[in-house]
């Protein structure tokens, strides 16, 4: 099982801050995971409607879309940061 966490409007659109999921076999990269999530229902489709804008982190480190998800304990999706 992998923990997925969502922030800001990604969280609002999906409607929950986190969930535990078993990633299906075909999901190898962060981009694969985003695509697969987008197919899980309209709230997910809305969150990932512009997949290029959603950022990801694996185990609290920024990652790129082509990063493998194998071995990840916690995968986060969120909009571009607006801190500072």
């Amino acid at each position: 099982m992998t923990k997925l966490v969502y922030f800001a409007w990604v969280r609002e659109r999906i409607g929950k801050p986190e969930e535990e999921l078993a990633l299906p076999a075909g999901v190898l990269t962060v981009a694969d995971l985003a695509r697969w999530l987008a197919g899980r229902g309209e709230e997910y489709a809305y969150a990932f409607e512009n997949p290029d804008i959603v950022r990801a982190a694996i185990d609290k480190k920024h990652v790129k879309p082509d990063t493998p998800v194998a071995g990840a304990r916690e995968i986060a999706f969120f909009p571009p940061m607006t801190g500072g």
């Binding site: 966490v5 922030f7 800001a8 409007w9 982190a57 609290k60 480190k61 920024h62 986060a76 969120f78 909009p79 571009p80 940061m81 607006t82 801190g83 500072g84």
Partner: protein, 159 residues
Amino acid sequence: MSGAVVPFVDIRAEDFDVSAEIARLTSGRADIGAVVTFVGLCRDEGGTLAALELEHYPGMAEDEIARVAAEAVRRWPLTGVTAIHRYGRIAPGGNIVLVVTASAHRAAAFAAGEFLMDYLKTRAPFWKKEHRVDGTSGDWVEAKAEDDAAADRWAARQG
């Protein structure tokens, strides 16, 4: 000198006091010639903003800012560096972020302070949502392309 510098990073709801944070880096020492502080405040966009709600990714926010602060210590001969970022509801005029950089000389303190802010803007996992004075929930603040450009310029040059 810079090898011993451990950045002070704090992610919290409470406000900060700039003088106290400067003293944290300077008191009892005589080897510091320059201290630069940056305070980022909540601006009201034309009288419609009641507050900003700052959401963050606990754990990652601390780690990411500590990474950026450690990179500043590697790049410049700093004697100390502090970064405090608040979360939660912050009204217009309120403090959001503080960066303090101390060095023997001013050029390093200025450059490191600007570097920290540029990176913090684009890498620290914080998001701002507007709450409007009419009681409605406003938009999520959008990231600016100019912030990415500001961060990118440090990749090209060292120190």
